[in-house]
């Protein structure tokens, strides 16, 4: 067990190093410099541009910049090109903003996917199953931003309430409970939209896993032993059918971050996806590289955990 853990950690470390180099190199090889140094601004002379480049350290060779960058990153000193604020603090703040969204999305996904998947598996090929299939796929077939616009316009015009941002704007002096409910309301639309894809995918996966297991030998033997259908399903079948889900743990994180870009932009949600997108647009190197790096760290931790659990669970696969 231990040697496996060490080997896995060692591999993760090298992966991380490689990730750090790749994300750094890719960004810096891009054409275009940080937009603070806007060359089409009539105010900028080449001397000024040179001064800016020096100040941002962009005139050094790449490997020097790499070392400097990560040193500053780990010491918390790294600053954004755009507004000179410490990058780590910015990312932390925005992650905290995105967290309720991610948490609610995850809750929605797991809450809805399992019952849906199981029900459609049990009632296979019935009208219920077929209509749910179509409905579920329909939801993920609409381009996300289009669905978001339609939803916003519908809600705003029918219910006349604000759905943009973290909370209803310009409201002060309301009780803590009201404020909390207000924030919850503002979470509803973006997290529901963000969760639809996950619910669809996961429920289909649950369904197919359940179907695989439902007719397996051990389940048939449990049934023949006279256990109730419910017990058979929810105790034996479910447990075994769900084993592959452990692999999904680590992979959820990058999906959440990447998927949030569009919705956070539309809903004016000050989250991590939007931060990344705007950083890309303005070539704010420190922020882009930091977000990629941190996402990679989180993902690697997640996949490490999944790999461990997977090995523990399925002895057939030897690494």
């Amino acid at each position: 067990m231990f040697p496996f853990l060490l080997k896995a950690l060692w591999r993760k470390f090298w992966t991380l190093l490689f990730v750090s180099i790749v994300s750094f190199a890719v960004i810096h090889l891009a054409p275009g410099s940080p937009s603070q140094i806007d060359p089409l601004n009539p105010r900028f002379t080449p001397q000024q541009l040179e001064r800016y480049r020096k100040a941002f350290g962009l005139d050094q060779p790449l490997y020097v910049q790499y070392g400097r960058f990560y040193k500053q990153f780990f010491s918390g000193e790294l600053r954004s090109f755009k507004d000179n604020q410490p990058v780590l603090r910015k990312i932390l703040e925005r992650t905290v903003n995105s967290l309720p969204l991610f948490v609610v999305e995850t809750i929605l996904i797991w809450c809805f996917a399992f019952p849906l998947g199981i029900a459609t598996a049990v009632k296979r090929n019935s009208l219920f199953d077929r209509s749910m299939t179509v409905l579920v796929f329909a939801l993920i077939s609409i381009p996300g931003f289009y669905l978001a616009y339609l939803a916003i316009i519908f809600v705003v015009q029918s219910f006349h309430v604000d759905v943009i941002g973290l909370r209803t704007f310009g409201r002060e002096g309301v009780g803590a409970f009201s404020a909390m409910m207000d924030r919850t309301w503002h979470l509803v639309l973006p997290s529901v939209l963000g969760a639809t894809a996950g619910i669809a995918v996961l429920s289909r996966y649950v369904r197919s896993q359940m179907l695989e297991v439902i007719n397996a030998d051990y389940v048939r033997s449990a049934r023949s032993k006279g256990l109730s259908e419910d017990r058979v399903l929810y105790l034996h079948a479910l447990r075994n059918g769900l084993l592959p889900f452990v692999t999904m743990l680590g992979l959820l994180i990058p999906a959440l971050i990447g998927g949030s870009v569009i919705f956070e932009t539309i809903f004016a949600w000050p989250g991590i996806g939007r931060l990344g997108y705007e950083a890309i647009l303005s070539r704010d190197y420190p922020v882009i590289i930091s977000i990629n790096f941190l996402a990679a760290v989180l993902t690697l931790v997640g996949t490490l955990v999944s790999d461990l659990l997977y090995v523990l669970v399925d002895p057939r696969i030897r690494l």
Binding site: V19, V26, I27, A30, R130, S141, R204, P254, N292
Partner: protein
């Protein structure tokens, strides 16, 4: 389980596995509807290729008629302002015009081909890479290479590469790369392909690994069948099924990704039309010319839905474990 697989191999029931799968598939009416729709879209795309592309197409998607901008579907061109040679082929604007007076019907035709092409090429690239890398990792995984005095196995290298790819938030990575490169339709296809192979590779590798240990492969090896032939003849055909499924679903995903990139400003650049960029261009006119979003939005919806249902149906049909007892 073992009994079924022997049946499959020796064909005791007299039906090949693909014929069985086909029959199961046909029983799933929803999936069949999806397949039919996909075929219809193919036809539309081919029509689009013939009718809307080229220098002087029959339906010209690029002709600008400013006096006729933002006209609703089924409207007639302005007789004074639009000269005869610029009028739409059918005499009316079947699906209306966009903000430059271009015929939306013609653009949708052109876009159908481009959108499908984007989906297929991207997925093609992804699947090709995934199959190759996954296959190598799965079969030759134990082979070790001495690189700089480090003994690394092929498997370690490839799964390491997979880990690196998986660590980046994929949409974010696509965005970064597309923002860096010159915007072009090929770059987008290649980038989507390059960022979505890891699923296939992991899957193929896992399948091969688990299949290797199973009895029939060991039996074949005992019968004297040599290494690569075993792979080609037995392992790959058994892995093709899930790959086919993920490819079908992948096309749907690629089309949606392309429309997402268009929304963020990094999609296929004009004047090439894809349904994704027609939709995202139209969003500014949501209140004034709703058909500019409704039409491509619905079209993408139906196309992606068709692929999804088709792919799901395939998955169910091709997975022997899902067969009803």
């Amino acid at each position: 389980m073992a009994i079924e697989q022997v049946e499959v191999l020796s064909g005791i029931h007299g039906d090949s596995p693909s014929r069985i799968a086909w029959r199961i598939f046909l029983r799933n009416r929803v999936a069949v509807a999806g397949m039919v729709a996909v075929l219809v879209f193919f036809a539309v795309a081919l029509t689009g290729l013939m009718l809307a592309k080229g220098e002087h197409p029959i339906f010209d998607p690029r002709e600008i008629r400013l006096p006729d901008k933002l006209k609703p579907p089924l409207s007639v061109p302005n007789p004074e302002a639009v000269p005869l040679e610029l009028r739409p082929r059918l005499g009316i604007y079947l699906l209306g015009t966009d903000e430059l007076g271009r015929d939306v019907f013609a653009r949708m035709l052109e876009g159908s081909f481009v959108s499908l092409a984007v989906g297929f090429v991207a997925v093609g690239i992804a699947v090709a890479i995934g199959l190759v890398l996954g296959g190598i990792a799965g079969y030759y995984g134990r082979v070790s290479i001495g690189v700089w005095r480090l003994r690394l196995t092929v498997d370690t290298l490839i799964t390491g590469l997979i880990d690196v790819m998986l660590s980046f938030p994929s949409f974010f990575l696509i965005l970064t790369v597309v923002a860096i490169l010159r915007p072009s339709i090929w770059n987008i296809m290649i980038v989507i392909g390059l960022t979505s192979w890891e699923g296939t590779a992991r899957f193929v590798r896992a399948e091969i690994l688990s299949l290797r240990e199973q009895e029939f492969v060991q039996a074949a090896a005992a019968l004297g069948a040599a290494g690569p032939r075993v792979v080609v003849h037995h392992l790959i055909p058994n892995s093709v099924a899930p790959v086919l499924v993920s490819a079908t679903l992948g096309v749907a995903g690629a089309i949606l990704t392309e429309s997402g990139l268009s929304f963020l400003g990094f999609g296929v650049p004009p004047p090439d039309a894809t349904w994704g960029n027609i939709l995202s261009d139209g969003k500014r006119y949501l209140f004034d010319a709703p058909w500019l979003t409704f039409i491509p939005g619905t079209a993408i919806f139906l196309l992606v839905l068709a692929f999804n249902l088709f792919g799901e149906g395939l998955r169910e049909a091709l997975n022997p474990k899902l067969r009803q007892g």
